[in-house]
Symmetry: C2
Subunit: 378 residues, 2 copies
């Protein structure tokens, strides 16, 4: 194996596949990056068994030569060292050559590294996925729906299924739901599919977060192929394969209240900042809660109190309040996380009493829904 | 106590005095910020007993009103909460008022915080320093000399005196020396004093670092007053008081070799980058060393080797090499830290054999000197 490559392109691709690589693997070869060189270009692979990422660097792009292939072949190199080295090489071009006994030479300017490689034949084979049924989402929309749901997954392994995001595809509609059983985030979008298949899968939250970090904001799309226990995301020069979580995701639709007792419309940013301030005196408190009370004349009061430190009270004007008077307590953390992913300057909160879950949505947009369980303090 | 203040100025001053405040103090009131209000303005104080910082916010500056004093007085407020709160207040003006029983109200827009304060009379008195003998250094020069020396102080408490920087004042010259006994950093500057006093003190490295972070890059100066066990730094609206380290600082002048066997001139940046690359394969090695060897034709070779990972070799052209051939090993960390604070594009390294300390200086500038002990590997 021997090739010369533009350093910046190599650095970018290595950083992408590094997202799948962890040093805490029980399979030593998975701490490496697999590099395969063919006449077409260079393919880099990283994997931790749960997530596998393949990044392809074509020989040529838009008429510019990116890789000069001198000899095909492959090698596995320690990911951490390889990544650190190429980032610091002195010139724009890098030559990588495998000599006998897997010894790999990395040359750039007057600098020559000699790394001990591993046999690429010993690298685990990625599962093959037949690409029959698939649907596509634009990169930026994909990143948005992930951002609007993935923060609500559970971080506890007591119910592993809740560490994933539930994706349901039905009638050209994708519904994404995440919940840690204290709050729930839901986002619906229209998709275009080439088949009428229905899916109900649970994708690990970590997989969606990592893929979001790799995808650029361009107008490219992600093609999504779902199988029994894997999901494959394909973007330009990139394959991202994740295992699915096994088990039945709870039926969350019954959690969402269908009627309400108090409804208000508030400026999203003002409300977020007010909760943020109130949380300062809530974080050390026993309950870590912020209170919301309705007042006269469409005003609401946000307050919190930690006796040993102090208390905070502030009033906000809401655009409208309808229904019963209300005093309710909730976690400022859950509220702020939900508000931060809402799109739209105004939002609608619908309460069903102080003990029941309430829902938050942008006004005039029911494709996003955030649900929070209140904290009992009265 | 009651006053109205521009929020940005308050935030800046609070952040400055916060640098002296630690939550790990044994004196509970020192987790607070002391706020004293007089007809002249507002004085904030933070202290951890070792370092004390006072920041003064004048009532008026350049004709603009900064503070409106309604009633003089004082209070001590929990620093962490106070700092977090004022940063997030909704409007540009903040009103702070102490009501009965040390209860303190912070108002901004529709937001009202109520904090439990402490009695300012119970806050420790700062040592008073009579300002007889002093000298001055421009802010930017002060920050430079600190940056060029403080990285070399010891981080180990086995010889506490080495955790400080030795400042010697003699004949209008200030010499700053720091060493952890493996390397040494020295910087000399001319100063102007109003007296012929001589000083030989050791200032805790932490004090110098923190003060450097507070001083702005303006053309202001720091006035320095030295007493038996304290040093006072005065800058515009700022008092920074630090205890001195007790004990005798080792006589370091005898460590610096006065003649050499090999001398070379190298491009500072090229050399730094080369050491940086070589250090990638040195960090996990048993010795954590990089080797330097002289070659023919004014070339040098930088290399390192960790058998289980790999090795790196690269050649650099030096501008000149004089004297004996040399093979020497040293810590890449110490070398890089020394090179990063050298000013000048070219530097001079003077070696006195593979087992002796060597010195690094910018060419044509002997006001800076970096000394490193080699590592024995041959």
């Amino acid at each position: 194996m021997r090739f010369i490559i533009q350093r910046d392109r190599l650095v970018q691709s290595v950083q992408d596949v590094m997202r799948a690589i962890t040093s805490r693997t029980t399979i030593p070869i998975l701490t490496g990056i697999k590099i395969m060189v063919t006449e077409e270009g260079v393919t880099l692979t990283g994997s931790d068994s749960d997530i596998s990422i393949e990044s392809f660097i074509p020989k040529e792009e838009d008429g510019n030569e990116i890789v000069e292939v001198i000899e095909s072949g492959g090698i596995v190199l320690q990911a951490r060292f390889f990544n650190d080295i190429i980032k610091k090489l002195p010139t724009d071009l890098v030559e990588i050559q495998v000599s006998n006994h897997l010894q790999t030479i990395i040359r750039s300017g007057q600098s020559e590294f000699n790394l001990n490689g591993l046999d690429p034949d010993e690298y685990p084979h990625l599962p093959q996925i037949t690409e029959g049924n698939m649907f596509s989402i634009a990169n930026d929309l994909f990143k948005t729906i992930v951002r609007q749901t993935v923060f609500a997954v559970s971080t506890s392994e007591t119910r592993p299924i809740l560490t994933g995001v539930n994706w349901q595809v039905e009638n050209d509609k994708l519904t994404c739901v995440a919940t840690d059983s204290y709050r729930l985030a839901m986002r619906k979008i229209q998709i275009e599919t080439n088949n009428p298949a229905e899916y109900n899968i649970v994708i690990p939250g970590k997989s969606l977060s990592e893929l979001s970090k790799i995808l650029d904001d361009s107008k490219e799309t992600v093609d999504i192929v779902i199988t029994d226990n894997q999901v494959l995301f394909k973007s330009k020069n990139l394959l991202f394969l994740s295992r699915l979580l096994e088990g039945n995701y709870p039926n969350t639709s019954q959690l969402i209240p269908t009627h309400n007792k108090t409804e208000m419309i508030i400026d999203t940013k003002e409300f977020l900042q007010s909760i943020d301030r109130a949380s300062l005196l809530a974080r050390d408190g026993q309950n870590n809660v912020v209170k919301l009370s309705t007042l006269e004349n469409n005003h609401i009061e946000i307050s919190s109190n930690t006796p040993e430190i102090g208390k905070v009270i502030e009033q906000l004007k809401s655009k409208s309040i309808e229904g019963e008077d209300l005093k309710i307590s909730f976690s400022p953390k859950y509220m702020m996380e939900a508000l931060k992913v809402l799109e739209g300057t105004e939002m609608n909160i619908k309460f069903t009493g102080a003990m029941s879950p309430f829902i938050i949505q942008p006004t005039n947009d029911d494709s996003i829904l955030q649900l929070i369980l209140p904290v009992r303090t009265y």
